[in-house]
């Protein structure tokens, strides 16, 4: 049984080695993901800073020089990736929490920049009114948040130019608490802030499109485009 016993030990060591390798690989890729999120966050921070600087420089000049590209294009992608990471690592993960706080700050900065441009020059052409969405992941706090999430995700998919700033109401972040105070947002979730108006409770896809008439305009334009393409083919 001595040689037989040795085989059990060998098998144990090999299995343990495979497990340790798997843990190492999984952590390695997980860390790579976090780094990618950090990189996107840095890029967005630079984008915002660049736009703010550009805006400061142009303040004395004409609004015509501000195009529709002043807002960062990567916020949506960042949101999706962060939410995927949160699902996998858990919402209690410290690194996830830090990234989420930073993401929330970037969203607030991006929104403030939008507000600044809007006040100074009005809404630039091709830029849709953004939505600020408050949700909660805590059990029993928001039964409709999952459904509202589906609606907003769908709007983002159908209209990539549409911006949704989503905030975890319970996130421990001073700037977020200030934003909540400024707009007087109550913990009656889901809550949506659109064009300085607050909407509480679930809003369906159709209701959202009614609240955002620009989306209907985009639909009409797309329909017209499709019609043109068909007639050209004929």
């Amino acid at each position: 049984m001595t040689t037989g016993f040795k085989k059990y030990i060998y098998a144990f060591f090999i299995t343990t080695a495979i497990f340790i390798t798997a843990i190492f690989l999984s952590n390695y890729f997980s860390q790579k993901r976090l780094n990618e999120i950090k990189n996107i966050e840095s890029r967005i921070a630079i984008d915002i800073l660049a736009s703010e600087t550009q805006f400061a420089l142009l303040e004395e000049l004409s609004c015509g020089d501000i195009g529709n590209t002043f807002l960062s294009k990567e916020l949506n992608e960042l949101g999706e990736k962060l939410s995927y990471t949160e699902e996998n690592r858990g919402s209690d993960d410290l690194e996830v929490l830090n990234l989420k706080r930073y993401y929330s700050l970037l969203q607030i900065k991006d929104f403030l920049l939008y507000q600044k441009v809007k006040q100074r020059c009005g809404v630039p052409k091709g830029v849709l009114s953004p939505i600020i969405y408050f949700y909660s992941n805590e059990d029993g706090e928001c039964d409709d948040c999952e459904k509202e999430g589906f609606v907003l995700t769908r709007l983002r998919e159908e209209y990539p130019e549409f911006r949704v700033y989503s905030f975890d109401y319970n996130l421990d972040l001073g700037a977020l608490a200030t934003l909540i105070n400024i707009y007087g947002i109550e913990k009656d979730l889901p809550a949506i802030l659109l064009n300085d108006r607050l909407y509480y409770g679930f809003r369906s896809l159709d209701e959202m499109k009614t609240l955002l008439p620009e989306l209907k305009k985009i639909d009409a334009a797309r329909l017209k485009e499709a019609g043109k393409a068909t007639s050209t083919k004929q």
């Binding site: 085989k7 090999i14 497990f19 993901r33 459904k147 589906f150 998919e157």
Partner: protein, 410 residues
């Protein structure tokens, strides 16, 4: 919990592979030492009796008997006993076609189950060796010649063959083809470990003295070939394997027939395992007691656990998807191929390693079974289908075992 299951499953796979490599290494050393001895013609021909128990097998029994008559073995050393276990079709009439052959003895009795047919035939047998061949199986010409030399070893009390699916057609039989080949690998490794605990109905050969020493076949929850194997092991009897002795067996072609057969097997295993529970985790039964029997039990539990957790995950994803469709309707956006979203969890890496090990075993099994390619459609069907359908008969077998509901042969 999932990690524990994965660790044990992977551990067992590694253990099997270590033993397989050791076995191949031993054989290579032996071949080098023996030179051409292995090629010398056999000179050892103990007398052999083969029992063919039949029950309503009018369509296949002739082919089974012809394959036995065709065996490459001295004619005066081989006798065939066909036992009609109270067939209600034309089996007995079909058997009359062999009545004039001096090598064949036809027996008939009232229906009492396979074990009773085997025991009835044993009363007429006093040859050195005795074997059984189910009436839906056929032997290759040299199968017996490959098996009998193993009995030169005095301690060898039984030898099992390699079983191959006969002319597989359709998805289910293709899946079983790979599964049976997998069995060839397992039996080979188990034999190396002295841990074979099933002497399959198709052409396992025993010393006649086995039945004198430990008694005849038992009903054993309709899995008498498992029980006799376990009883032999309990009595310290050696069971070997002749991996190059091929036996072909017909397998169920319908899901219903397959389900019933597997239900009988798994139920039989659970009940026999319970009857022989004192062999589990006991070092005096060698690797069988310490590893193989516990691993066989574990494989049922782990299959059920993985199936259960997959069902829960799938159900939860489906529920979320339905909620989404109900809320915002169907939408087919662009497929997101961003590497960021690729699963890189620990479970994935461990599962991939386990699958790699399984693929290696499949490729080795195919080589052992004399198949050409390393992988075939059957391998793919086995990996994908088996894990999906096996839990159905396993769960029913567990239910039946808990509530002591006997299974039927057909």
């Amino acid at each position: 919990m999932t990690y524990i299951f994965l660790f044990i499953a992977l551990y067992f796979e590694v253990f099997l592979l270590i033993n397989y490599f050791e076995l191949v290494d031993n054989e290579n050393k032996l071949e080098v030492g023996n030179g051409d001895k292995a090629k010398i013609a056999p000179d050892f021909f103990p007398s052999v009796s083969i029992i063919v128990p039949v029950w309503n097998e009018e369509r296949t029994v002739s082919k089974t008997i012809f394959s036995l008559l065709n065996l490459d073995y001295p004619k005066d050393k081989l006798s065939i006993l066909v036992v009609d276990d109270g067939s209600t079709d034309n089996t007995w009439q079909v058997l009359q076609g062999f009545a004039m052959d001096s090598r064949i003895k036809l027996l008939s009795k009232q229906n009492g189950g396979k074990h009773s047919a085997l025991n009835y035939a044993l009363e007429f047998i006093n040859s050195d060796l005795v074997g059984c061949l189910d009436a839906d199986s056929y032997v290759s010409k040299n199968a017996l010649l490959k098996i009998t030399p193993h009995f030169k070893e005095e301690e060898m009390m039984a030898v099992t063959p390699s079983i191959i699916v006969f002319e597989p057609k359709g998805i289910l039989q293709m899946m079983q083809k790979a599964e049976y080949m997998f069995g060839i690998f397992l039996r080979r490794v188990f034999s190396h470990l002295g841990a074979i605990y099933i002497t399959p109905g198709p052409f396992s050969i025993f010393r006649r003295s086995v039945f004198n020493q430990i008694g005849e076949y038992r009903h054993a929850h309709n899995t008498e070939d498992m029980e006799i194997g376990m009883r032999m092991q309990k009595n310290g009897m050696k069971i070997g394997n002749a991996h190059d002795a091929y036996v072909y067996t017909s397998t169920p072609s319908s899901i219903r027939a397959l389900y019933k057969q597997r239900l009988r097997w798994v139920y039989g295993f659970i009940r026999n395992a319970f009857d022989y529970k004192d062999m589990f985790f006991k070092p005096q039964y060698g690797h069988l007691g310490v590893a193989i029997l516990p691993a066989a039990g574990f494989s049922i539990v782990s299959t059920m656990y993985i199936f259960g957790s997959n069902i829960i995950d799938l159900g939860s994803s489906l529920f979320t998807k339905i909620k989404e469709i109900y809320t915002v309707g169907l939408y087919f956006g662009d497929l997101n191929l961003d590497l960021f979203y690729f699963d890189t969890s620990i479970i994935l890496f461990i599962s991939l390693t386990t699958i790699l090990g399984t693929l290696y075993i499949i490729a080795t099994s195919r080589k052992l079974a004399g198949e050409k390619g390393k992988f075939g459609l059957d391998s793919l069907l086995f990996i994908i289908l088996y894990t999906i359908i096996a839990p159905f008969w396993m769960s029913r077998a567990i239910f039946n075992a808990v509530f002591a509901r006997e299974t039927k042969w057909r």
